[in-house]
């Protein structure tokens, strides 16, 4: 039932029966978006905003895009697209946002973009977060770039009237990205950092236990740290809480063709290989292997 290659887009069989060729329409497109903004938000992260089609701007929390990055001035030539999780989407304005850290040839290329430039974006891709309307309050736990991925989820929870506690982890207080957005979405923000020695698993577990004891954790959401994933999995099992985790993996195609981004999952006691780009990037908290 959870076998990856049996996962089919819901419309594939219904729309694409013989004789229904005219009913086909693309649900994922690669398009040339226009750069509206691309600037540093701190010493490590940059904020990229692009104008795009309505289809792209309809991206949901947890989904991602594949960006065809321009070559950086270093002479490097990024060949593949780079997966980038959604930081924000505004269907009304026709915009998507990304938050990225400059780490390699692709992001060094992204760094060169200025307003007015064109960027080839493909998406939205993957399976995003799921919010159960029955939940009253949730906890999100993120570290580094994972905070960006969790931001649209915070917005969706806020719109759905779900209360939110956000444990935001980073190396240094100046690197806790998106804190203001979480706060604007009504979250109680708890920043934990290496610099302040508050980001260790023991302290995060202490905070989580308090939130759970206070009835503030109907579900747990993770991104960006396998150490914290382990803590969350242990507590979710102890208290019988549902949860979801957004995972990262090196990708090539982004649409389930190449099987380069596989990870192992534990499903009903056996190891199952799944494609992060196609079956995820958001997975059940219990099934992920850190």
């Amino acid at each position: 039932m959870c076998e990856p290659s049996t996962v089919t887009p819901p419309d594939a069989r219904s729309v694409h029966g013989r004789g229904f060729a005219d009913a086909w329409r693309a649900t994922v497109v690669a398009e040339l978006a226009e750069v509206l903004e691309n600037r540093a938000v701190n010493v490590e992260y940059r904020h990229l905003v692009v104008a795009c089609s309505a289809a792209a701007a309809a991206a949901l929390p947890g989904q991602f895009f594949e960006l065809l990055c321009p070559p950086p001035p270093t002479g490097e030539a990024p060949f593949l697209r780079r997966p980038m999780s959604l930081y924000g989407a505004d269907p009304r304005l026709g915009r998507v946002e990304f938050l990225y850290k400059v780490t390699g040839a692709g992001t060094r290329g992204l760094e060169t973009l200025v307003p007015g430039d064109r960027l080839d974006i493909m998406g939205p891709l993957g399976v995003g977060f799921h919010l159960d309307p029955g939940w009253r309050s949730i906890v999100v736990i993120g570290r580094g770039a994972g905070l960006a991925t969790l931001t649209p989820l915070a917005q969706a929870a806020h719109r759905g009237g779900i209360a939110l506690a956000a444990i935001l982890s980073a190396r240094h207080p100046s690197l806790v990205v998106s804190q203001e957005r979480f706060a604007a979405f009504g979250a109680e923000v708890m920043a934990v950092t290496d610099a302040q020695s508050t980001s260790g698993p023991a302290n995060v577990e202490r905070i989580l236990r308090q939130l759970i004891a206070g009835g503030r954790s109907d579900a747990l959401f993770l991104c960006g740290s396998s150490r914290l994933l382990k803590v969350a999995q242990r507590l979710a099992a102890e208290f019988g809480l549902p949860g979801q985790v957004a995972l990262e993996q090196q990708m090539a195609c982004g649409i389930g063709l190449c099987h380069c981004c596989v990870r192992d999952f534990c499903v009903a006691g056996r190891i199952v290989s799944r494609r992060v780009c196609w079956d995820g990037p958001v997975f059940d908290l219990k099934e992920a292997l850190p």
Binding site: E3, S5, T6, T8, P9, A12, R13, H16, G17, R18, F20, A21, W24, A26, T27, V28, V29, A30, L68, A77, P78, F79, L80, R81, M122, Q250, A252, C253, I255, G256, L257, C258, H259, C260, V262, S273, W278
Partner: protein, 320 residues
């Protein structure tokens, strides 16, 4: 002058009539692509390689990029032939586009029994992947030698009456000889070619960039090499050739047709531009219209070499 929509794109390749000469390369096509392009527009659909047994594939990392290309060592993860017949095959039943099933096995007998089992409704042709550089130890494969190619093709031919395409490897020293062996043993077409065995090393860690150490190079970087293989094979074969190697644009496809390919496969380009195949189909029609060529098949083998310009390439070949 003719209009692009008046150009006849249809071709006949290795026992199949295709609405156009463009199809995916095995391993770069799955149901996810259906979100991006209409499969009804393709010349054919080619599956990821199916094996008899469950295969997990290679350790990660499975791909590394290099200028103009991609080295992969995916390792043919496969859920096995039973899963393919029960779960995957029905997904493609709604299309009137021929489905070519790529197969691989460690022995000639294994290839033959897999081909027999897959000679069922819904499968239009078998593509025998006797060239994947990852599946055999140290990158060896059946298609490295004419004798093993002939043996496995003969076994396949006896096992199925479906059109039989044999996918060759550029890692052999004598591709025309291997191609002739496939033809002699009953192949209906050859696919030229699979990826080029290669590797990359990480200068930070001194470790290989791929979990499998070696992998296959694909993408625009290999196009001139594979184009040459197609040209050489076309001069010695009567059966059609399906060109595959670094095709990203309609111009690339035209080059392959001129070199002697009757159809083309597009692989790595789809990873960068997922609508690459439909763009190439449209581009072929436009190219033909601009040059007043009525049928795309008129391009096949259309390379013009003046007698006096005939290159002496004999000294490149180890056997010649």
């Amino acid at each position: 002058m003719i209009a692009p929509d008046q150009v006849t794109l249809g071709v006949t390749v290795g026992g199949l009539t295709l609405r156009n000469p463009v199809m995916p390369a095995s391993g770069t096509f799955a149901e996810g692509l259906e979100k991006v392009i209409d499969f009804h527009r393709l010349g054919a659909m080619v599956t990821k390689t199916v094996t008899r047994e469950l295969r997990h594939g290679n350790p990660l990392p499975r791909v590394v990029e290099r200028p103009g290309g991609l080295i992969n060592a995916i390792g043919i993860p496969s859920k096995g032939v039973e899963h393919f017949i029960d779960q995957t095959l029905p997904l493609y039943a709604g299309y009137d586009t021929p489905l070519v099933v790529s197969i691989s096995a460690p022995t000639a007998e294994g290839f033959a029994s897999l081909a027999a089992q897959l000679s069922i409704p819904g499968v239009a042709a078998i593509e025998a992947n006797i060239s994947c550089p990852n599946i055999e130890e140290d990158g060896k494969a059946f298609a490295m030698r004419a004798s093993t190619t002939e043996a496995v093709t003969r076994a396949l031919r006896a096992a199925t009456s479906l059109p039989l395409w044999v996918k060759l490897t550029p890692n052999t020293g004598d591709m025309p000889d291997v191609a002739r062996a496939a033809e002699a043993a009953g192949a209906d077409a050859v696919v030229v070619a699979n990826t080029i065995l290669s590797m990359a090393i990480d200068l930070k860690t001194f470790k290989p960039c791929l979990g499998n150490v070696m992998g296959g190079l694909s993408g625009p970087a290999i196009k001139p090499i594979i184009l040459r293989h197609v040209f050489q094979c076309a001069r010695v074969l009567d059966i059609p050739i399906i060109g595959c190697g670094g095709i990203a644009t309609a111009s690339d496809a035209v080059e392959y047709l001129l070199a002697g390919a009757a159809a083309v496969q597009v692989g790595t380009a789809t990873f960068l531009q997922p609508a690459a195949m439909t763009t190439i189909i449209d581009g072929l029609a436009t190219f033909c219209a601009q040059r007043d060529i009525a049928r795309v098949s008129d391009l096949v083998g259309g390379i013009i070499i003046e007698e006096a310009d005939e290159p002496d390439i004999s000294w490149f070949g180890p056997q010649s």
